[in-house]
């Protein structure tokens, strides 16, 4: 028997297959407009990846923003609980999780894979993946390029707007003032890091610190976060699947 965890995120849907407590397969696909369709697609895909049929599937657990749309799941849990469990499995020494996702960002204190406390920013796009996505567009570069560019900056620009919409126009006026692209990129990353570190500090930082979510795949952001927190950060091999993994572990 296998169990499956599905993380129906706002930007991407992730699925993990767990066989005898080991990850047998995983997949990450764009969510698009319909959580349910994306959930089904991720389910099909992850099953075919480990050449398994429906009959072998035991429990299915859904998590993430769209968890309730995954009608074929046996149960749902919040992504905060799921990430804690998933990270606890991959990095047993982790006590703090930083998750910068597409739609929100959160910091979770954990003890043996269990949530002890958490903070979440979900009211606006500031400090989330969306912030970088939009502002990178104003620079006409991709997210990956943004991270790489930022690394070569010697003089990060000061981005004072927390609000994504205003930050976008700030970027445009910085460009008009002929500020170097890499400095703007570094400034944008600094701004998102500032939001995140203030949450981390509020909650209290306890090593090891694990970084998950889409932004953790961006080396520029990882470096900036390590610098700001003055700490080495642990990255799971695939930082985007800890929620789905946690859900599968609960199944």
């Amino acid at each position: 028997m296998i169990s499956i965890g599905i993380d129906a995120g706002a930007a991407t849907t992730k699925a993990v297959v767990l066989r005898e407590n080991e990850i047998a397969a995983y997949t990450i696909i764009p969510t698009g407009f319909d959580f349910r369709k994306a959930g089904e697609a991720a389910y099909r895909e992850v099953l075919s990846k480990c050449s398994t049929g429906d009959s072998e599937v035991g429990k299915i657990l859904a998590t993430g923003y769209g968890r309730s749309s995954i009608g074929f799941a046996d149960k749902t849990i919040s992504e905060i609980t799921a990430h804690a469990r998933g990270v606890g499995y991959l990095i047993p020494a982790a006590h703090t999780i930083i998750d910068i996702g597409g739609q929100d960002s959160k910091v979770i204190s954990i003890e043996n894979g269990k949530v002890v406390d958490f903070l979440m920013n979900d009211r606006c796009a500031a400090g989330t993946g969306k912030f970088l996505e939009y502002t990178a567009k104003a620079l006409e570069i991709s997210l990956d390029e943004l991270g790489m560019l930022a690394e070569v900056s010697k003089n990060p620009a000061k981005i004072s707007s927390m609000c994504t919409v205003f930050a976008e126009s700030e970027v445009i006026s910085l460009r008009a003032q002929k500020t170097k692209k890499e400095d703007i990129a570094a400034g944008l990353i600094e701004s998102i890091i500032l939001r995140t570190t203030s949450m981390v500090k509020k909650l209290g930082i306890k090593p090891e610190v694990a970084f998950v979510g889409g932004a953790a795949k961006n080396p520029g952001i990882v470096k900036a976060l390590e610098k700001a927190l003055d700490i080495r950060i642990k990255l799971p091999e695939e930082p985007q699947i800890t929620g789905a993994l946690g859900a599968a572990l609960f199944a």
Binding site: V116, D122, R123
Partner: protein, 388 residues
């Protein structure tokens, strides 16, 4: 999202009395107004009801908990202002239904007795005064100061004059004592109900209790008390089994129409057992000393309300810790309205104190819109999963 509310949940019949009372109350006010009775509107617990009733006037609460009037209010008030203030003001100026204002009770009010609490309300009262005569009572901002009590008594004396002028009646000591006695009876009944909520199987949910307390300053005191007696009787024989984590709500008031957060908490499986709020314990906790000179006794009681507009406000933190212990609370949901600086800033010290006491805290800052419902559900789910 699938809600997890327990199946076979019990039904409290007496709650319908509170629910059904609304139209009757409006008619009753209309009738007594025709007979010459003056109607006073209030927006805060610092205004003693007892004085209003002792003067032969009637009182309705004007605090707005609905989002509908906010749009109209934003033509006058800044967007980044507490929704309670905007909603209350919006009810006055939005004249959709008739010449009388959109909100049925605003149109009935002869005088608003307001109070100097938060900046947003104070400034809103200046505008409100252009529509309905508004008397703003001053409050000592440092209620523990030596002369605070004397000052507040003076303000109550002026309020007494204002009310006497409005109604043409004199407030006698006997009448005032009478009103104090009745109000204390109501407070004691609420204490008795809250006592039952301390049990392992509390008979009443937070969402139900909230709807009762939202009627407290709207119904006539007699009717409210009569309904409380019926409720208490029913609660004595009912209980709720298999309740989820025991939750305390602490923070901003939830004016009538605003039930979003408690509803999410209880639908997701939590059980609210106490609320440190103006639609909760702050509304009835302290009694008025019936043995003392009534104006002084009133002043003493009302100054004790631990509102975040006051400085210092350690008494609120002490109260939160005490309630958490007495009601065997598993976690606290700190509820604030957006742009309510008092309660939002005070959150830091409350969080510190709760952390020290080992009580988990979830903070939710929101407004009257439904836009953040799903996000709140995620946090509440995670919080409840953490407490389980």
């Amino acid at each position: 999202m699938n809600d997890k509310i327990v199946e076979n949940d019990i039904f409290l019949k007496s709650l319908d009395f509170f629910k059904d009372a609304f139209p009757g109350r409006i008619n009753q006010i209309l009738k007594s107004k025709e007979e010459g009775k003056k109607i006073v509107g209030t927006l805060c617990l610092y205004v003693p009801d007892e004085l209003i009733y002792a003067c032969g006037a009637d009182r309705v609460i004007l605090c707005g908990g609905r989002s509908a009037p906010i749009e109209a209010a934003e033509e006058y008030l800044p967007r980044n202002l507490c929704p309670l203030i905007k909603s209350s003001f919006g009810s006055v100026i939005d004249q959709k239904c008739s010449k009388t204002k959109s909100c049925p009770h605003f149109g009935l009010v002869d005088l608003i007795v307001a109070e100097a609490t938060c900046d947003g309300k104070k400034k809103m009262y200046e505008l409100l005064n252009q529509y309905i005569p508004t008397h703003v009572m001053d409050l000592p901002q440092k209620p523990e100061n030596q002369n605070a009590l004397e000052y507040y008594i003076k303000e109550l004396e002026s309020l007494k004059d204002v009310l006497e002028k409005l109604t043409g009646n004199k407030i006698t000591e006997a009448q005032l004592k009478n009103e104090i006695k009745s109000a204390n009876k109501t407070r004691k009944l609420l204490h008795a109900i809250y006592e039952l909520r301390k049990k392992d199987s509390p008979p009443i949910r937070g969402t139900e209790m909230l709807k009762v307390l939202q009627q407290m300053h709207f119904l006539s005191p007699d009717e409210f008390r009569k309904n409380l007696v019926l409720l208490l009787d029913e609660l004595k024989v009912k209980k709720r089994e298999n309740i989820g984590p025991r939750i305390m709500i602490s923070g901003c008031p939830m004016a009538s129409g605003n039930t979003k957060v408690p509803e999410i908490i209880e639908k997701r499986g939590g059980m609210i057992v106490v609320e440190e709020s103006c639609t909760g314990t702050r509304a009835f906790w302290d009694l008025v000393d019936e043995t003392k000179e009534p104006m002084r006794a009133l002043a003493e009681r009302y100054l004790k309300i631990p509102c975040a507009c006051m400085y210092p406000n350690n008494r609120r933190i002490d109260q939160i810790l005490k309630l958490a212990g007495d009601f065997n609370v598993g976690g606290v949901v700190y509820y604030t309205l957006q742009f309510c600086h008092g309660y939002n800033i005070e959150k830091y010290r409350v969080a510190e104190a709760l952390k020290k006491a080992g009580i988990p805290l979830l903070s939710i800052e929101t407004d009257y819109s439904a836009a953040d419902t799903e996000q709140i559900k995620t946090r509440v789910d995670a919080f409840l999963e953490m407490l389980e």
